[in-house]
């Protein structure tokens, strides 16, 4: 049996490339099978660490806006995250609208961050886009930073009255949660 001889004699001149590719294939097939099998076992374990069904279940929160005084904000909880709802003064709105987009770290007009006709209300996810601390600034007595919005105590990021980042290390503007106005004094987040 020439075949058997060739197999027992690695690298000899008589070892044809045809045999080699056949044997490589025989090795690769079970290896590929084992890799797929290992992946199939690993995936459920990895995915089990993702947010579970009850966490994902989209909870929504309604917020009554009437108790919020002009110039200050409140913090409500939605999906375990703090949400800032702030009643902006005309001066704050004007500052937010007038800033040149070229001066922003993540350029975005104020109009894209509020609901039409409700420019006095800004609703934000109150989590610093740097490393997740909760910025200060809802209370008028809080430090609000140079741009009058929010100031993050952890590494000094500053946000303007539209929640846009004006001073690093945070790379992005404060995020806006999905929400809608139910009427002029009530919103639903989520």
């Amino acid at each position: 049996m020439a075949d058997t001889l060739a197999m027992g004699d690695h690298g000899s001149a008589g070892h044809g490339p045809k045999d080699k590719s056949k044997r490589d294939f025989l090795v690769m097939l079970p290896v590929a099978g084992a890799v797929i099998g290992a992946g199939a076992i690993a995936w459920p374990l990895i995915d089990s660490m993702n947010p579970s069904g009850d966490v994902l279940a989209l909870a929504s929160t309604e917020v009554d806006l009437t108790p919020i005084a002009e110039g200050s904000g409140i913090t409500v909880v939605w999906r375990g995250k703090p949400i800032f709802v702030r009643y902006r003064t005309p001066k704050e709105i004007k500052e937010a609208e007038d800033v040149k987009l070229s001066q922003l770290i993540e350029p975005q007009p104020d109009s894209a961050r509020v609901k039409p006709g409700h420019a006095q209300w800004i609703v934000l996810i109150g989590i610093c886009t740097h490393l997740g601390c909760i910025p200060l600034g809802n209370k008028p007595t809080d430090p609000r930073g140079e741009w009058g919005g929010w100031y993050c105590p952890c590494h000094g990021s500053q946000y303007d009255t539209s929640g846009r980042v004006r001073h690093g290390p945070a790379p992005l503007n404060l995020w806006i949660p999905p929400y809608q106005f139910l009427n002029n004094s009530r919103i639903k987040i989520g």
């Binding site: 990895i46 660490m49 993702n50 947010p51 579970s52 966490v55 913090t75 909880v77 999906r79 375990g80 995250k81 703090p82 989590i127 740097h130 490393l131 997740g132 601390c133 909760i134 105590p153 952890c154 590494h155 000094g156 690093g168 290390p169 945070a170 790379p171």
Partner: protein, 427 residues
């Protein structure tokens, strides 16, 4: 000897019966009894043994803490208070564990300094060194997750800031962070998995320590002269010489640890962690435990989030490639007139980084942090390769025994290791 049995030289018939079937006793004798060890160790060579003992104490105290601890976000804080107030000796077990983490890092940092100063990372010990860096990373992960368990304000916000580091990864960052959390913020699922991993990782560390020691026993130990062992006259059997020397250091070390536990148990901790976690209020200052401060300072020195995170990981990463960055063939800094200044300077630099990490990043602190960060990387990436090329090392001694023997009153040639051992055996 029957076929398939190990040829044991033990005299005791019972031990011999075991040893012929499972030669662990012979193995221990070979690796920790007669193991030939350079005769010129100083006390820096204690720290590997100290780290091993610390790891065992951490596991022992941790297992008992876990019997009383509840990994649930509504009960964790209270269960730690229960350990402190109600459980018999709970305060002792917790304080030993809590301060043990600090002791562990002190010991390991000194152990690493020893390696840096005496060139223990160089050929042939590169892999041994890299396994050490793996142990350091695993220790950091373990300590970080352990600190989350008491679920105080610093636990919660430390966890938030550190897990958010991964959000710097482009595109998939947020997905990864939510996967780490098991939710949309740090919460009960996070606490549960951290407890599970905090229990697991120390045993992984035990495994890597085992590999670290296997690698050590292939290459043999380095020594303060950094030159190779040339023969039996350069070595002593590990037992009793270094078992005794290690025991001396261990007594001092345990006394210091005990002093912390009994007289200043909360000195190294942060008082804010005595306030239960509040997801809606970030404390005015989020600072990590002292052993992470230098790395935290590097993170904060860079105004760009992605670069800051990368640089922080790179600060450990450079240790991995250090064996190939150092171009000098001489190991010990004793014979390296320039590098022997640079290594202690690096220590000063790391202390400066630690100071910066503990303070609010404002004005001068920011500048200091940037200079110290730059120095850290310059040390490894520029000074280390260049100094190796241009420095003229001092002449190396011809052997470990030579400088020792020359001083001896007899003034004769090399004394065989066995002869030196005699006076001890008579005692």
């Amino acid at each position: 000897m029957a076929a398939g049995l190990f040829k044991s030289e033990l005299k005791n018939p019972v031990l011999r019966w075991v040893d012929t079937r499972l030669p662990v006793i012979t193995l221990m004798q070979k690796e920790y009894g007669t193991f030939p060890t350079p005769r010129n160790f100083n006390y820096f060579w204690n720290f590997g043994a100290l780290a091993t003992v610390t790891l065992l104490i951490m596991i022992a105290t941790g297992v008992f803490l876990a019997m009383h601890y509840t990994p649930n976000s509504t009960m964790a804080f209270a269960s730690v208070q229960h350990i402190m107030r109600d459980v018999n000796y709970g305060w002792l077990i917790r304080y030993v564990h809590m301060n043990g983490a600090s002791m562990f890092f002190i010991v390991v940092y000194i152990h690493i300094y020893r390696g840096l100063y005496y060139g223990s990372y160089k050929f042939p010990r590169e892999l041994l060194w890299m396994l050490g860096v793996v142990i350091l990373l695993l220790m950091m992960a373990t300590a970080f997750m352990g600190y989350v368990l008491p679920w105080g304000q610093m636990s919660f916000w430390g966890a938030t800031v550190i897990t958010n580091l991964f959000s710097a990864i482009p595109v998939v960052g947020t997905t990864i962070v939510q996967w780490l959390w098991g939710g949309f913020s740090v919460g009960n699922p996070t606490l549960n998995r951290f407890f599970s991993l905090h229990y697991l990782l120390p045993f992984v560390i035990v495994g890597v320590v085992f590999l670290h020691v296997v690698a050590l026993h292939i290459t043999g130990s380095n020594n303060p002269l950094g030159i190779d062992v040339k023969g039996p006259q350069d070595t002593l059997p590990f037992h009793p010489y270094y078992t005794v020397k290690d025991s001396v250091g261990l007594c001092v070390f345990l006394a210091i640890w005990a002093a912390f536990v009994f007289f200043m148990p909360n000195l190294l901790g942060d008082v804010i962690n005595n306030i239960p976690a509040n997801p809606l209020h970030t404390p005015a200052d989020v600072v990590p435990e002292w052993y992470f401060l230098p790395f935290y300072a590097i993170l904060r020195s860079v105004p760009n989030k992605f670069m800051g995170v990368m640089l922080m990981f790179a600060s450990i990463g450079v240790l991995f490639v250090l064996p190939w960055l150092d171009t000098s063939p001489v190991r010990s800094c004793r014979f390296r007139p320039i590098y022997r200044i640079l290594v202690p300077l690096l220590v000063v630099d790391v202390f400066v980084l630690g100071y910066v990490g503990a303070h609010h990043p404002q004005g001068f602190i920011i500048l200091l942090g940037r200079v110290a960060t730059a120095w850290y990387f310059l040390h490894f990436l520029v000074f280390t390769p260049l100094v190796g090329l241009f420095e003229t090392p001092l002449p190396l001694p011809e052997s470990i025994a030579a400088p020792v023997v020359r001083k001896s009153p007899s003034g004769g040639g090399p004394i065989p290791g066995g002869a030196v051992a005699k006076p001890m055996e008579n005692a």
